[in-house]
Amino acid sequence: MIRVQELTKRFGSKIAVDNLTFDVRPGVVTGFLGPNGSGKSTTMRCMLGLDRPDAGTTLFDDRLYRDLPRPLHEVGSLLDAGYVHPGRSARNHLRWLAAANGISRSRVDEVIALVGLEAVAGRKLRGYSLGMKQRLGLAAVLLGDPRTVILDEPANGLDPEGIRWIREVLVHLASQGRTVLVSSHQLSEMALIADDLVVIGQGRLIEQSTVDEFVARHADRWVRVVSPDATRFAGDVTAAGGAITAQVANGFDVRGLEPARVGELASQLGVVLHELSPQTGSLEDAFLSATSATVEYHSGVPA
């Protein structure tokens, strides 16, 4: 269980994290979302005491991080896969980490095998791709078999096989009752693995909820109708207060009416329906909708 309480971090006059409070429960994957510059990475660094927060605390199973005698056994973190010395081998990188927390060399070899880096473990890290460094970072996370896992963009640079692998690893870790907090910009991935969400913007909490609640609250919803009488029925739906927003093959999308109301209308008018389905926007749609007011860097499309 992670409990972040009233965390605040300023860089000069800029408030990067603003009185942020949220909980991360064990047994599920919690996605940590926010636009670029929203303070996700700063929050994670503050949680681990790497950046000194101006106010607030973070408790890991009711203990401050600095009070953990051997933190790698409690909290495994991967904030940036690039935090390695390029002249050192992967094995030696893990060995110095392990030595600092009294972890055996055999465990180092175990996690190297687990992330599939056995063949290149002796190679200098300057020759590693970003994807290989991500695997090494995950090996470091798993080194102490921690109860809590914190990952910042772990799928960056991974190929599709690697992305699937990290998804399975995170879901597996959560299924073992561990607390898993993951930030990612890959919302389609997040939709697949996350149960809970913490969404922030400009350093402030926008929402903490389950993925389903978040999508239901922020994503667009509509009804898809497919019928051999689509053209005629569209007029009837409009007359009943619906708004036709898109045409599909032999059908249309309607907003403003619940699926049950559309079904009743079809029944009353004797219209044959081949499809009547509620549609919901994606997590990406919900995220963009929820964070639109807090996006710091707006972009346009080239003319």
Partner: protein, 259 residues
């Protein structure tokens, strides 16, 4: 703490550049001393102290290189970002600072011990017998023991000072430049100005590295007429206080700033 010391030692010895600098630190003074010893033995005016002064002088190069290793041990952590996993693994930063400091200081002292004994014993072995039949005996030279102990202490204190500079500046180029230029250039210029103003060569004793280098001299003081420079021990304490001050300031900086 033992695990942390092992971790820091592992970091130090798994970087090729540290080995390169360490090997140069050993080979340069030893090679120069052996060459001088082997080629000056026929000179009837050559004294044992001449050879030992060569060893003492070239050992300063070793001391500076060992200091560079100490400074880079911390600046590289910031440069490559490994300071973050380091502090994530050991959140009590003072323990990391202490362990790393202990490792670099002890390593510097051990390597310098190798330099001194290899130079001394090697030079003594290659000194040819003079044409008049007498021979030089480096091992019997007065002040040799103090020079050897002082040199090793100097290596440790210089490593501590460099480590402190590294913690304060966090940048490898800036820290190395400052550590090298401070004794070689800045103290030379400042010392020159001070001597010009005070007309007293002993004013140099207040310059930390000039004072610290007295630790490794065969004699003591600055060698001038009516020398009133600090004694070897006082020089050592003065330089030690500066090195300790730098490392304490560096520790404060590491404690307070974001990693």
């Amino acid at each position: 703490m033992i695990g942390l010391l092992r971790s820091e030692l592992l970091k130090l010895r798994t970087i090729t550049m540290n080995w390169v600098l360490g090997i140069i630190a050993v080979l340069f003074p030893v090679a120069i001393t052996l060459i001088v010893a082997a080629t000056t033995g026929d000179d009837e005016y050559t004294l044992a102290s001449n050879v030992l002064e060569v060893l003492s002088g070239t050992n300063r190069v070793a001391v500076m290189l060992l200091g560079v290793i100490a400074a880079v041990s911390i600046t590289n952590e910031y440069g490559f970002g490994t300071i973050r996993p380091t502090f994530a693994a050991t959140p009590k930063r003072s323990r990391v600072v202490l362990a790393k400091g202990a490792v670099v200081v002890v390593t510097a002292m051990l390597i310098d011990t190798v330099v001194l004994f290899a130079g001394l014993l090697g030079a003594n072995a290659v000194l040819p017998t003079r044409t008049d039949g007498t021979s030089l005996d480096l091992l019997g030279e007065p002040g040799l023991q103090a020079m050897l102990i002082g040199s090793v202490v100097l290596a440790g204190l210089a490593a501590l000072a460099a480590y402190g500079v590294g913690m304060l500046l966090r940048s490898t180029p800036a820290s190395v430049a400052m550590f090298i230029l401070w004794p070689l250039l800045v103290e030379g210029l400042v010392g020159g100005v001070l001597i010009a103003i005070t007309k007293d060569t002993n004013v140099m004793r207040w310059l930390p590295f000039q004072s610290g280098f007295q630790l490794g001299n065969l004699g003591s003081g600055f060698g001038g007429e009516g020398d009133v420079g600090f004694s070897r021990v006082v020089s050592g304490f003065y330089f030690g206080a500066v090195a300790l001050g730098l490392s304490l300031l560096g520790t404060l900086s590491v404690q307070r700033r974001d990693a």
